[in-house]
């Protein structure tokens, strides 16, 4: 019993946080942000990746995976809807950037809100008719939506079909921070900022009315509706917020990759991101962050994995899910800790 507690990272972290005063909390947050922010300078250390540059790996896949996993987690983890077409929102963000970036004078920061808005609109349009469906049906419809978006991109002239869009502009500099492909640390910091914003948003919503509504819907949708929750509204909100995060990730991705094509937005991406969420701990923000970071990073760190990324993904998932069926950091609420504290008091 005792020993297990030491290994329960989730409870350990939560205890640390709950017992800390405000200054300590601020210190923990700032310290962690600083540590993670310094990661791009660690390229020479044991963390180094053999093929791609370390700072590039940090942006994509690691940072992008984390961001998208957090977005998908709002849909899958918080409100319990299986979305297999998440890549569609990523694609919408990316193509908004690519199209507007190459045909207008708008820069990345100006296109960002447009990309987010378009992804959200797509979320609402898809959500209103389909979110009445549940479980497997919803999974199939979203899967279809992901494919439809890809096929539209593949067959439209404005998107240049299978050739994709090249020469997408990079973001303009942020004061002294210059965006470079040679050294992508500024990109990484931007992704980090977006991740932090997303985490802030999810945490805020989770402890208040929307989070409770999602939680109720996930656990028993009929009971939720009969207790007065406008389930469709909250499901659409969840879907739309997830879409917004995916769209934002897409805009930044296009502006970093400088070239995008429909083949980058296949069902595989949706499944990889879903795998990150499930692997890390569906519904648990920190689990999702860690899961996505690991699954994004490992294939680049270990050379033989990068050749068979998907195979390795599958293997890791099968193994880990056998030992930790709820992911690395499961969502389960910590009732025991609460009771124990009462007993001590």
């Amino acid at each position: 019993m005792k020993i297990r507690n030491y290994w329960n990272l989730r409870d350990f972290g939560a205890n640390l946080w709950e017992n800390a005063g405000r200054p300590v909390r601020v210190a923990i947050v700032l310290g962690s942000i600083l540590l993670v922010g310094l990661l791009p300078f660690m390229g020479g250390s044991i963390l180094a990746t053999p093929i791609a540059a370390f700072d590039a790996v940090l942006v994509y896949p690691v940072g992008m995976f984390v961001l998208m996993s957090l977005g998908l987690n709002i849909v899958v983890g918080k409100s319990g809807m299986l979305d297999l077409g998440y890549v569609a929102f990523f694609a919408i963000g990316a193509y908004t950037m690519a199209y507007l970036g190459t045909t207008t004078n708008l820069n990345t920061w100006e296109i960002m809100p447009i990309g987010i808005a378009l992804a959200m609109i797509a979320g609402v349009l898809l959500g209103i008719p389909t979110l009445r469906l549940r479980g497997d049906y919803l999974a199939i419809v979203t899967l279809g939506f992901g494919e439809i978006v890809r096929l539209i991109l593949l067959n439209s002239t404005w998107s240049k079909g299978p050739n994709g869009i090249a020469n997408i502009p990079m973001p303009p500099d942020l004061g002294p921070l210059k965006f470079e492909l040679k050294n992508q640390r500024v990109f990484f910091w931007v992704v980090m900022a977006m991740i932090l914003l997303t985490i802030w948003m999810i945490r805020r919503l989770t402890v208040r009315r929307p989070g409770r509504a999602w939680e109720a819907i996930r656990q028993d949708e009929d009971a939720a509706e009969l207790m007065g929750i406008h389930t469709l509204k909250y499901k659409i909100w969840s879907f739309t917020l997830g879409a917004a995060v995916g769209g934002a990730a897409g805009v930044l991705f296009a502006s970093k990759n400088l070239y995008i094509a429909p083949e980058m937005f296949t069902l595989n991406v949706s499944i990889l991101i879903l795998a990150c969420v499930v692997f890390g701990g569906i519904g648990n923000i920190w689990g999702v962050v860690i899961g996505a970071a690991i699954l994004g990073y490992l294939p680049d760190r270990i050379r033989f994995i990068s050749d068979a990324r998907l195979l390795a993904f599958g293997l890791v998932l099968v193994v880990v899910m056998n030992f930790r069926p709820d992911g690395l950091l499961p969502r389960k609420k910590r009732e025991k800790a609460i009771v124990k504290r009462e007993a001590n008091a």
């Binding site: 109720a216 656990q219 009971a223 207790m227 007065g228 609420k333 009732e335 609460i338």
Partner: protein, 261 residues
């Protein structure tokens, strides 16, 4: 004893068919403000179906359900709750991974105004409503007598507490009418007595109660009126002492004519 007032809920000739099964057959039913009305009948008589029709789980095949002058048949399920009808479930359907307190808080949300944006930016109204919700939920848990379990996950609560939490959650929506579907199922006699007292307190606090229950002694003790369903048809509607001796009711329950026994 609470004063019994005007008609709050009225089922007018309600029929509910599931394919070939007629679960409710032209049922008329009135619930008056401030009363405890018991709905009884053998297994499969259509009692739960009455609740399901009232709360919008099913749309009646024909007939009208009128609540406080509003036809419930045109309302969405969540709107029915917002109008003031709350229910419990025969087979407990709490949100197991939420604490007892959270279960009730989530129910109290139905009458709150603040939405997603307010929650996100912590607008004063959202903050105030959060605070009010918590206090009100705690008060309800105390009222039902399960406040000591407030921080426990619903799924880990003892069975009897779960049943009571179902009632607390229903009260969380500030209903005018509470529908209780076999709240004493699986209780021992002592627990039943305690629950009867709780239901009385709920009524005395100003709620109107429509109660499905099998235990006759519990019903006779607390209800103002008893409605008996058999095969989807209402066969009796009167004060407990009269219903108890109604030969048709005895027949429905025992399966034989009363005078044959």
């Amino acid at each position: 004893m609470a004063k019994i007032g005007k008609t709050l809920l009225k089922l007018d000739n309600v029929t509910m068919k599931f394919g070939g099964v007629t679960a409710l057959n032209g049922v008329n039913l009135e619930v008056k403000e401030g009363e405890i009305l018991a709905l009884i009948g053998p297994n499969g008589a259509g009692k739960t179906t009455v609740f399901n029709v009232i709360t919008g789980v099913y749309k009646q095949t024909s007939g009208v359900v009128d609540f406080d002058g509003i036809s419930l048949g045109d309302q969405k399920r969540y709107q029915v709750t917002a109008l003031g009808v709350a229910r419990t479930f025969q087979n407990i359907r709490l949100w197991g991974d939420m604490t007892a307190l959270e279960n009730v808080i989530t129910a109290t949300d139905v009458h709150k105004k603040s939405g997603l944006v307010g929650a996100l930016f912590g607008f004063p109204r959202a903050r105030r409503e959060e605070e009010e919700n918590r206090e009100k939920a705690m008060e309800i848990l105390r009222f039902i007598g399960i406040d000591e379990y407030s921080d426990r996950l619903a799924k880990n609560l003892p069975y009897g507490v779960q049943r009571r939490l179902e009632i607390a959650r229903a009260l969380g929506t500030s209903p005018k009418l509470v529908l209780l579907d076999e709240p004493a199922a699986g209780f021992n006699p002592a627990e039943k007595v305690e629950l009867a007292a709780t239901i009385k307190r709920v009524r005395d606090a100003g709620y109107t109660v429509l109660l499905i229950e099998h235990d006759m002694s519990l019903i006779m003790g607390i209800s103002d009126r008893v409605v008996v369903l058999d095969f989807g048809t209402k066969i009796a509607d009167d004060i407990p002492s009269v219903v108890q001796n109604d030969p048709r009711v005895i027949e429905a329950y025992l399966g034989v004519p009363a005078d044959a026994s």
